[in-house]
Symmetry: C2
DNA sequence: GAGCAAACTATGACCGTTCACAATCCTCGT
DNA sequence: ACGAGGATTGTGAACGGTCATAGTTTGCTC
C-alpha cells in the first residue's frame, strides 16, 4: 500500500479506474451492497488495498448530512465534575454508532449562545447535548436546525442541579439515624450558591421537622472542611449533638477531625455522614458513611435522550434512584 | 430570522442573491476580507441576519482540508484517569483555535489499528493525539496522512507510564524522611502490572540502598488498602519500621488505619506517605503527605506537541517536574 | 475626459462522496 | 433467435463552500 503524509489521498474514482469499474460501483461496494458480481467485488477489493484507499468522511457527511457525531458542550474553565458522566455519555453514543465530541464553550453568555448556534448549524453534528444551560431563545421550537438537548444536571457554572442536586437521601440518612436513637443533629453545609447544597440543607431541615427531631445548628461551611472542623471543635459540651450530616465527604471528614481532636469517638460519641463517595472515605479511620451518585448513568441517559430525540421516539424513562447510601463506620447508635 | 428544525439551511448563494452580490463576495465577507465596499458589506450583513445564515463547516472543510479539529483517542472501557488531563488538552487546543473530539477505540488491537487508520484518513481531523499506544506499524513515516502523536503517558490499558510513572519523588520522600531520623522503612505497593507501581518500588529500593537505610519489607498490595492495613497490623512490635512509603493515597490511608488500630500514633510512632493528592487526604486525621501530579499540564503538553508537529515546528521543551511533594501531618521526625 | 492603476466583484471549476435515474448485460422461456 | 425482466453497472448532477482567474468600477492624474 502506498501512502505518505501530506500526499493526496486516493479517491473513490481512482479506485474505480484501477478496478476497471465506475466510481458508483465502488461506492456500492463500500456500502456493502450485495448486488455486485463476485469478479468486480474482488477487483475493487484489490484496488482499495493497493491504493490504501479509505473513504473521506467529510465528503460523505456533506452529501449525506449524516456525520455520526454528537457534541457534548461544556462551559470552558470549569472542569466537568465527573469523568464517569463523560464515560457514560461516550458509552451510550458508541453503542448507537455515534462518536462524542467534547466542545468547551467560553466567554460571556452572548458569545456562548452564538457559538451554540454556529455548532448547531455547522453540519458537523447530528445532535448536541449541553451540560450547561442555554438561553431560552436557543431552545424554542425551530431556533436551531439540529436537535439540542440540555442535560438538566448542571447550572451555568457546572454546579449540580436536578438529579445531581436531589437531596432525598438526606431524609433517609436522618430517618435511619433517628431510628438509632439520635435526636439532636448538626448540618455542615456546602456553598449555597450550589443548588445541591441548598437542597441538602432544606431536606435536612424538613426531615428534622417532620420527625420532631432537633437541629442544633446549620453551619454554613461553603464546602470548606475547616469550617466544619471549627464548628465541631466549638460545639458546647452540653449541646446534645450526636449526629452530623455533612453536605459532602470533605466537610464530613472535617467534622470527624474536629470530633477526634476534642476527644470524641466516632461513631460512639458522634455519628457523621458525607456525600460523594470519595474513595478515600472508605479507608480513612473511621470510614465515612456517604451517598454515592451514579454519574455514569446520568451521562448515558443524557445521550440516550438525545438519540431518542433524533429518532423522534419518546425518551426511555428510568425510575431508579441515582443516589444510594453507603453505611460505614462513621455512623452508629446514639450514645447512652 | 426564519429557521426551523429540519428545514434546509440557507446557503451562501441564497445570501448572495438576497444581498444582490455574487456568492464569492459573501464568502469574502465571511472571511473578513477588508476590501469590500461599505454598501455591499451592509447589505450582506442584513441578508445573513435575515436568513439566519451560518456557514456549513463540513463543506468548508471539504474544500479546505482544514477542520479545526483534533482527535483524542482513548481505549474504550477504560475511563481516562484524569479529567484534568482532558481539560488541559482542550484548553491548549482551544487556545490555538482547535476543538478536541474524544474518540474511544474499542475491540482487539487489530480492529483498533484499523479504526485509527480510518480516522487518520477520514479528513475529519487535522491531527490525532492518542493516549493509548498504537502498533508500531501505524507510526512509521508515511503510514498515515494525518499526524498522529502518541502521548507517552499511558500504556494500552491506560495505566500511567512515562511522566505519569515517574517515581523520582520517592527518592525525595525517602531522603527527607531519612534526614528526620528514619532508618527502617516499609513500602506498601501498587499493582505491579502498572509501571508506576513498579517504578515507585524500584526507586524506593534504590534510594534505600543508596542511603544505606533498611527496608523492612515491600508489601505487594495491588493498590488494595486492606493489604496495607493488614501489613501494618501484622508488623512485629520490634520490626523497627518508623516510616511507610505508600504507592498511593489509598494504601497509605490503609497503613494509617492499621497503625491507629494497633495504638500507634501517626506520625509520632509511624510516618506514612501517599501519592495522588486525593482531596480527602488533606482532611482526614492525620492529613496525608502525598505527591501531586500535574495532569493538566500533561494534557496541554500533548496537544501542544501535536500542534507543533502540525506546524512543523520543534516541540516546546518543558523541564519543570510534573510531580510535587505535599508534606502534611502523616509524616514527622522518627520516634526517640 | 482619456488613461491607468487600484479597488472591488463575478464566474466557473473543484473538493470526494451519494443520489436518482438510465443503460447495459444476462438468463430464460418460447 | 428473440423479448422479458431481473441483475448489475454507468452517468451526471448534486451537497455548500473556496480557489484561481477574469472582469468591472472607481479614483486620480494630467
Amino acid at each position: 500500500m502506498t501512502s505518505d503524509v501530506g500526499t493526496r489521498r486516493p479517491t473513490i474514482r481512482e479506485v474505480a479506474r484501477l478496478a476497471g469499474v465506475s466510481h458508483e460501483t465502488v461506492a456500492r461496494y463500500l456500502r456493502a451492497d450485495t448486488r455486485i458480481k463476485e469478479a468486480s467485488r474482488e477487483r475493487i477489493g484489490a484496488a482499495i488495498a493497493e491504493l490504501g484507499y479509505r473513504p473521506n468522511l467529510v465528503a460523505r457527511a456533506m452529501r449525506n448530512r449524516r456525520t455520526g457525531r454528537l457534541a457534548l458542550l461544556l462551559p470552558a474553565g470549569v472542569a466537568i465534575s465527573s469523568l464517569e458522566m463523560l464515560a457514560g455519555a461516550t458509552d451510550a453514543a458508541g453503542a448507537a454508532g455515534y462518536v462524542v465530541e467534547v466542545v468547551t464553550l467560553g466567554g460571556p453568555a452572548g458569545v456562548r449562545s452564538e457559538r451554540v448556534l454556529e455548532l448547531a448549524d455547522s453540519g458537523l453534528f447530528e445532535g448536541i447535548v449541553s451540560l450547561t444551560p442555554l438561553p431560552a431563545g436557543l431552545l424554542g421550537a425551530g431556533a436551531t436546525r439540529t436537535p439540542v438537548l440540555v442535560a438538566p444536571h448542571y447550572d451555568e457554572h457546572m454546579r449540580g442541579i436536578g438529579a445531581l442536586a436531589d437531596a432525598s437521601c438526606v431524609a433517609d440518612l436522618v430517618e435511619q439515624l433517628a431510628e438509632q436513637g439520635h435526636t439532636t443533629f448538626l448540618h455542615v453545609s456546602g456553598d449555597y450558591a450550589h443548588t445541591s447544597a441548598r437542597n441538602r440543607r432544606q431536606v435536612y431541615l424538613d426531615t428534622i421537622a417532620r420527625l420532631g427531631l432537633r437541629s442544633y445548628a446549620v453551619v454554613d461551611c461553603d464546602w470548606d472542611w475547616r469550617r466544619a472542623w471549627r464548628a465541631v471543635l466549638d460545639l458546647p459540651a452540653d449541646c446534645g449533638v450526636t449526629a452530623v450530616v455533612g453536605a459532602n465527604d470533605k466537610v464530613a471528614a472535617g467534622a470527624v477531625r474536629g470530633a477526634l481532636e476534642r476527644g470524641w469517638r466516632v461513631p460512639q460519641d458522634l455519628s457523621v455522614t458525607g456525600w460523594d463517595d470519595n474513595p478515600l472515605g472508605a479507608v480513612m479511620p473511621p470510614s465515612i458513611t456517604t451517598v454515592a451518585v451514579d454519574h455514569g448513568r446520568l451521562g448515558r441517559a443524557a445521550v440516550s435522550d438525545l438519540l431518542a430525540l433524533l429518532r423522534e421516539e419518546a425518551p426511555a424513562a428510568d425510575e431508579r434512584p441515582i443516589t444510594r447510601i453507603i453505611w460505614r463506620e462513621s455512623t452508629g447508635p446514639a450514645p447512652r
